[in-house]
Amino acid sequence: MKRIITLTVQDRSGVLNRVTGLLQRRQFNIESISVGRTETEGISKMTLVVEVEDEQRLEQVTKQLNKQIDVLKVSDITEKAIVVRELALIKVASSSQLRTEIHGIIDPFRADIIDVSKDSLAVQITGKPEKIDALIELLRPFGIKEIARTGLTAFLRGYQPQVNDFATYSLSK
């Protein structure tokens, strides 16, 4: 099962190494990882998407991550009400004739063209991963030259429903 795990960490050298090394040693597959600074100086946040076999292994990895001295907090937010975003840059083969057509495709996705050259253009899109996947599929026929994705970043919504019947964000495709 795929899980979204966020870590609040002290911004000290080696902390990313510790986290990924720990996951590697326990044979967890990291699907994506993103790290960046937070509102507090010296504190960073990591968002990991990992594939975990079962609850027991998930609990183990959470505990092991928590044990790291520089890790302040570990949360599995998969089942919470969360905001999830990813950014992707997509370089598509394109001529001047095709540009309008591509425009028409990316517009509903609220994506932007951020670079244009003679035979290609670069599209920038942010959103949930499946939205990005969908756009990539639509652009594929034009010929995709390069894709760069940031991996997920996420946090809890300001309001967490008290009951369990809210629609959870699903990572399954």
Binding site: Q10, G14, N17, G21, Q56, Q60, Q64, K67, I69, L72
Partner: protein, 577 residues
């Protein structure tokens, strides 16, 4: 948590170097002994050690592996971190085995490694190794010092992390330009700033209640006592609790001595070479209380058959241990002593637990299936040798072993009635550990009798430290259980690999007596029982180091045994074969 601590400098002579500051900080931490080996990247530190003569002692070992095992033995007996200094590159990489060993057995170490100057880090400079990356998975935490101003905080944090919660090794990598750099002012305070590190000491009272409640209903309770009891210094509490409620106690290999082996409620060691009674108690129990043990696979055997009928309560200061190997119904995070005190209070009114039938059954197992060995009139039995050492030392010695058959025989036949007498490499099973660990123990407890019981194989991995016991006149008694083989390997080859004895016979041996003499140490060679009985008192009465080459029966095996993949109830060699 934040702790502010004033530094008391004995010499306030600005300018001085980062290395001088480091030594001041160590003295400030109460460090008396450094286990070290010099080299280019730590020359500034050694210069500072020279200047600090008389304020701190440094012991020069002959190999970094030897000194770090010595620091482990020291930590085990002293209950304080062993402090190690090694140079960059090869000095640091020679520590890897010892650091891993300390990590596995939760021993507090603070390890300082030199590093090349910051300006050349990452350039494959002479004697550069990426020590931070190498030691990340084998330390509780590690640091690379980036500024002299950080030294006070880092040293304070390193000692704090190494010795609190679940103890472990902490490494501090110091670039040469930091140790050689000049201080511009005396740092006056060190602030520990570790918001992510708050070990839980006091257990949750609700969980303790749950355990007390389960205990009142249990028909077959058993306590499994591990090294966590030692770290918490909770042996007295454990003994009082188990004896009051007549709860039988199994100890792990590292937990030997936490509960008196001669108590009627002691079942001895559990696991691969444990007693039948201990393993059957684990197997048949309906309430298993794990106190500071980590359910190592050498203890549990095949997990499918581990305590299959038991409700499991696990008390551990490291939450990540709970549920790691064995599903746990009553998880209790906390210090073993705190937990026992709370539990004793909670169960104070419970006088007679109804498990008489259980005690009788276990007593029957103990009587019917004791540990055994057969005397051979033509040679010396290793088990008998261990008993003879027990006798001559009154069971009071600090005993360090290496790894192999002799280790298991010592665990089985040197009955440990008190804690802090037993030093062995349990988790990593490190050959070469025993002798240097005994040196560290002797340094921690100069008045105690310290015996190193080692195999002829493992001793040859770190015997160069004979220099140290001579130089320091440390009266360590080295007993080589010499079977001319890598005995434990040979045992497995005999039993599990169709008797194909592949590369486990030591066809040539040094003359150990001459070897000892070449280091100016007394040596004895003994190959029969009478001789041993005659010489042992003299060996132990002598106030100096002694090496005894004991020629024992080569074919002797460690029994009983749980073969790999088998369950606790499937022991072999329970009865004399």
């Amino acid at each position: 948590m934040k702790v502010e601590a004033k530094l008391e400098f004995q010499t306030s002579t600005v300018p001085k170097t980062g290395a001088d500051l480091l030594i001041d900080l160590l003295i400030n931490e109460g460090v008396e002994t450094l286990f070290g080996y010099p080299g280019g990247a730590v020359l500034p530190i050694y210069d500072a050690i020279y200047r600090a003569r008389g304020r701190i002692q440094h012991v020069l070992f002959r190999h970094e592996q030897g000194m770090i095992h010595a620091a482990e033995g020291y930590a085990r007996i002293k209950g304080k971190p062993g402090v190690v200094i090694a140079t960059s590159g090869p000095g640091a990489t020679n520590l890897v085995t010892g650091i891993t060993d300390a990590m596995m057995d939760s021993l507090p170490l603070v390890v300082f490694t030199g590093q090349v100057a910051r300006s050349v880090i990452g350039t494959d400079a002479f004697q550069e190794a990426d020590v931070m990356a190498i030691t990340t998975p084998i330390t509780k935490h590690n640091y690379q010092v980036q500024s002299i101003a950080d030294l006070p905080r880092i040293v304070k944090e390193a000692f704090h992390i190494a010795s609190t919660g679940r103890p472990g090794p902490v490494l501090v990598d110091i670039p040469k330009d930091i140790s050689a750099g000049n201080l511009t002012e005396d740092p006056k305070e060190a602030v520990i700033d570790l918001p992510g590190y708050q070990p839980t000491i006091k257990p949750n009272p609700f969980q303790i209640k749950k355990l007390a409640d389960s205990l009142s209903k249990a028909k077959k309770p058993v306590i499994l006592a591990g090294a966590g009891v030692l770290h918490a210094k909770a042996s007295a509490e454990l003994t009082a609790f188990a004896e009051k409620h007549k709860i039988p106690v199994v100890t792990t290999l590292l937990g030997l001595g936490t509960f008196p082996a001669d108590s009627p409620h002691a079942l001895g060691m559990g696991g691969m070479h444990g007693t039948y009674a201990a393993n059957m108690a684990l197997y048949e129990s309906d309430l298993l209380i794990n106190l500071g043990a980590r359910f190592d696979d050498r203890l549990t055997g095949n997990l499918k058959h581990f305590a299959p009928h038991a409700k499991v309560a696990h008390i551990d200061i490291d939450p990540a241990e709970i549920g790691k190997n064995v599903p746990t119904q009553i998880p209790i995070v906390g210090d073993a002593k705190e937990a026992l005190l709370q539990l004793s209070e909670e169960t104070a009114a419970m006088d007679d637990l109804e498990h008489q039938a259980w005690l009788e059954k276990l007593e029957q197992y103990k009587q019917e299936y004791p540990l055994w060995f057969k005397h051979d009139p033509n040679g010396m039995c290793p088990q008998w040798l261990i008993q003879a050492i027990h006798k001559v030392t009154n069971g009071e010695a600090i005993v360090a072993t290496d790894v192999g058959q002799h280790q298991m025989w010592t665990a089985q036949f040197y009955t440990f009635n008190k804690p802090h007498r037993w030093i062995t490499s349990g988790g990593l099973g490190t050959m070469g550990f025993g002798f240097p660990a005994a040196i560290g123990a002797q340094m921690a407890a100069p008045e105690s009798t310290v015996v190193a019981i080692v195999g002829d194989g493992g001793f040859q991995m770190t015997l160069q430290e004979l220099s140290v016991i001579y130089e320091r006149n440390l009266p360590v008694k080295i007993i080589i259980v010499n079977n001319g083989a890598l005995g434990m390997v040979r045992q497995w080859q005999e039993l599990m690999y169709g008797n194909r004895i592949s590369e486990s016979i030591l066809h040539t041996q040094p003359d150990f007596v001459k070897l000892a003499e070449s280091y100016s140490i007394r040596g004895y060679k003994i190959d029969n029982q009478e001789d041993l009985i005659a010489k042992l008192p003299e060996i132990f009465a002598y106030n100096g180091p002694v090496l005894v080459d004991c020629r024992v029966l080569q074919q002797e095996k460690v029994f009983p045994m749980i073969a790999p993949g088998k369950g606790l109830h499937e022991m072999i060699g329970v009865k004399p074969v």
